[in-house]
Subunit: 471 residues, 2 copies
């Protein structure tokens, strides 16, 4: 499927890692021979990931959801017909995926467009419990014309459940009879609290399959319903994921997710504890946020699978080109050799904008006239890669032919597979998040949940024991 | 002025650094004696910064702008009376400050409010040259009702000048006679291209004073005009900055900017090359972005002031509580000891939102009912600090009594002073950005600007010399 005769090939995304290699960028790069050897030595990461395919249901979402897709489209159609606003209540993976895909594929000022120019209802994704956030949202929506998609696989996400209680109460008061049709639940089919609530009231419900954790759930109903509601072609999104899965199942030298994992491993070993993602397109801005969760939560781990303390995890950093050239690039070129920068470039953007010839008496401005914003953007990407490379800092370029549902599907699957391979290379469990338990339990204790008395005592004792330093 | 008898004291922001100290958090913290000694040893950073007060005009903006404020208010009033939309054309400091202050002090869905509920015209800040961004903006504004604030101190910012050429052409075509009144220029009074363009056409113009670089310019007309246009009390913003400047001029032990600089220095020396800023309020989300520029561009430097290669610079990371508890906190608790996390908490939020008692048959949800979102948010902040501390990771809490113009003014000045002190401690120039020159020149070369032929030859030679690695 990597052959150029595959009709999908001209929409394939590519990875250029020339600027990772010492022979090109100097002593701070990876010697070509190290890379070649590592590609051979670490192949077990691919075969072990492949052998766990049955557990990793997120990998099959592109082909396992025929019946689900009917439900998603049916509900989406109902929402589009009946409501002018769609609000996602969710946090973490339940929010970051929907935001990233919407920003990538819809108008950048989608909510500001008049109704007939939009692809669907207005979209708000509420991923915080700041009371001002809730209050300000309620100032700009009419609950009588709004559908709410409550997303929590476990149904134990306090933030989302608190939002649900507020919205339940609001709908009962403002909509009255029929309020139940304003809520769609996306959750586990069999366990947890949200399915109980959904059954109690009879909400329309979609299910997150087993083996699909929050940060790997964008291609499940978690992401598909918001996408379909806002007019995105979810079949093409899945087709893109399928194409990338096929690419990555083939020969290891032509597997971009594996190449990225090997480069991550080698650069981390050389001291790069920071991974910057810098797309050069506003549409891809929140792909970097989605990736930051995937990378941080999957690979930031105290223990390996044999319970050895490893304290591993690269810190992901979100950046945006060209914007952050005026904020972060000084650090990237002048600062320490502690990071890898992954640029994302788009070959053909959605439109062309000319820079008119004006102010011709001022040469330092006038030279821009006659070019296009597209040329300016691509020149700045080229120039920034050049400057970062010249200063000897490792960097990668991911090239996307154009931003559409098919290429975004590829991109998501590529990063998910890179993360899974990296978990195998580091010998850690990339699919759990034990480090957030402590905070959850402390929150329960502070809110007086039953059974957390001893945790509350622990919190109070810690407070007593500590000396305060402040200014 | 730190005395509790000062009437401003109850609005003073505070820094709690208990969780930086080894006696509280264990071996990965800073021993109290090291901290105490460093506070004495590094005082030169404060006195040297104070002695350069004449060069650092950004520090005096709270008191040096009486005449300027009249101009700002006059122009703001004209814009508010006449236009329904205000667009900032700027990048870097010209965008990040206006965005941060607007998000902090105005409604979170400001542009979505009906006109009579807003504090002023709709605001768009255009800090990229992505053609889709420009095209999508033009879909949602009416140039005949829109004012454009072009901001560039040097007037040589290609991105902003390209935007200006596009908008000039658009206004001439759509507005015709009188189009000049739609543009306000903010730039250097004497040099550069933008002042020439402004004089050629007769734009309303505001000036960025000498000694005020882009990332230190929020309290100059760069930030004050957009703030005043959108109804923010700019006098209170400046009064807050003045209060913090006074606090930091006094006894060094009570100088929060200095304490933060000393803690940054010590933690970096112990291996923390990452600085996370995590406000627990949506209103403060973009303060972290503004800070990321300030910290990265000021302190990410290849050379010290004596031209020694130092490659210094902590990498700033933006995070948002509670949202990123579900994205990044797994890494912060389980990952390496390579970062300091600065939480920002707000004591009194703008509103209180109750969580109603619903779903009482499901105890794991029902325990939330009867609380408020405010309690949930503050409990999660407390719990997350506890979890991060328990895992031995250094963290700081900045407490803000409430988010208002006076406290935001304090916050900006505190971070600016922290950055200036840090420059002195590291013996680097915190006010230049030589590392972005290479990329600028390469862009000029690629766009065929006169005089960059040899740079273009250099780029082509580099391309020839490199071997391509891709997948």
């Amino acid at each position: 499927m990597k052959s150029t005769s595959d009709t999908r090939y001209n929409q394939r995304i590519h990875v250029d890692f020339s600027n990772m290699i010492a022979e090109n960028i100097g002593a701070r790069g990876i010697p070509e021979s190290d890379f070649t050897q590592a590609m051979i030595d670490l192949q077990y990461a691919v075969s072990q990931t492949d052998s766990k395919r049955d557990e990793m249901k997120w990998r099959d979402l592109h082909s396992s959801q025929d019946a689900v897709l009917c439900d998603v489209k049916r509900i989406a159609s109902r929402v589009r017909d009946r409501f002018d606003t769609f609000v996602v209540l969710g946090i973490g993976g339940s929010a970051l995926g929907p935001i990233a895909v919407h920003q990538a594929l819809n108008h950048l000022h989608y909510n500001d467009l008049p109704h007939d120019k939009r692809n669907g209802p207005r979209l708000f994704v509420e991923d915080n419990v700041d009371p001002q956030r809730m209050s300000d949202l309620l100032d700009v929506i009419d609950p009588r014309k709004t559908a709410f998609n409550v997303i929590s696989k476990s149904g134990s996400t306090s933030e989302t459940m608190a939002q649900l209680l507020i919205i339940l109460d609001l709908l009962k008061k403002t909509v009255g009879e029929g309020w139940v049709s304003h809520i769609i639940a996306t959750t586990d089919k069999n366990k947890g609290n949200l399915i109980k609530a959904a059954q109690q009231y009879g909400f329309d419900t979609l299910y997150v399959p087993d083996g699909v954790g929050g940060r790997f759930s964008e291609l499940s109903p978690v992401g598909l319903l918001p996408a379909a509601v806002c007019g995105i072609d979810i079949d093409k999104l899945l087709a893109g994921a399928k194409y990338m899965d096929e690419i990555c199942t083939d020969e290891f030298n032509d597997n971009p997710a594996y190449v990225l994992a090997v480069l991550s491993f080698l650069s981390q070993r050389m001291g790069s504890n920071i991974s910057v993602m810098m797309p050069y397109a506003d549409s891809l801005k929140y792909i970097a946020d989605w990736y930051a969760q995937l990378w941080a939560e999957s690979l930031g781990k105290r223990y390996d699978v044999n319970s050895n303390e490893v304290f591993c995890g690269q810190t992901p950093v979100k950046s945006l080109g060209v914007t952050d050239q005026h904020s972060q690039v000084q650090l990237y070129t002048g600062g320490p050799y502690d990071k890898v920068i992954t640029f994302i470039g788009v070959e053909t953007l959605k439109c062309v904008v000319d820079i008119p010839k004006e102010l011709e008496s001022i040469p330092d401005i006038a030279f821009l006239g006659g070019h296009t914003l597209n040329e300016l953007l691509s020149s700045e990407l080229y120039a920034t890669r050049y400057a970062v490379t010249k200063s000897g800092h490792m960097n990668i370029l991911i090239s996307i032919p154009e931003v559409n549902a098919f290429t975004i599907g590829q991109l998501l699957m590529m990063f998910e597979l890179q993360t899974a391979y990296m978990g195998e290379i580091l010998n850690i469990n990339a699919f759990d998040q034990p480090g957030v338990e402590e905070g959850k339990q402390a929150t329960y204790a502070l809110l007086g949940k039953n059974g957390y008395g001893s945790k509350l005592a622990e919190l109070n004792a810690a407070k007593e024991a500590n000396k305060t330093y402040s200014v």
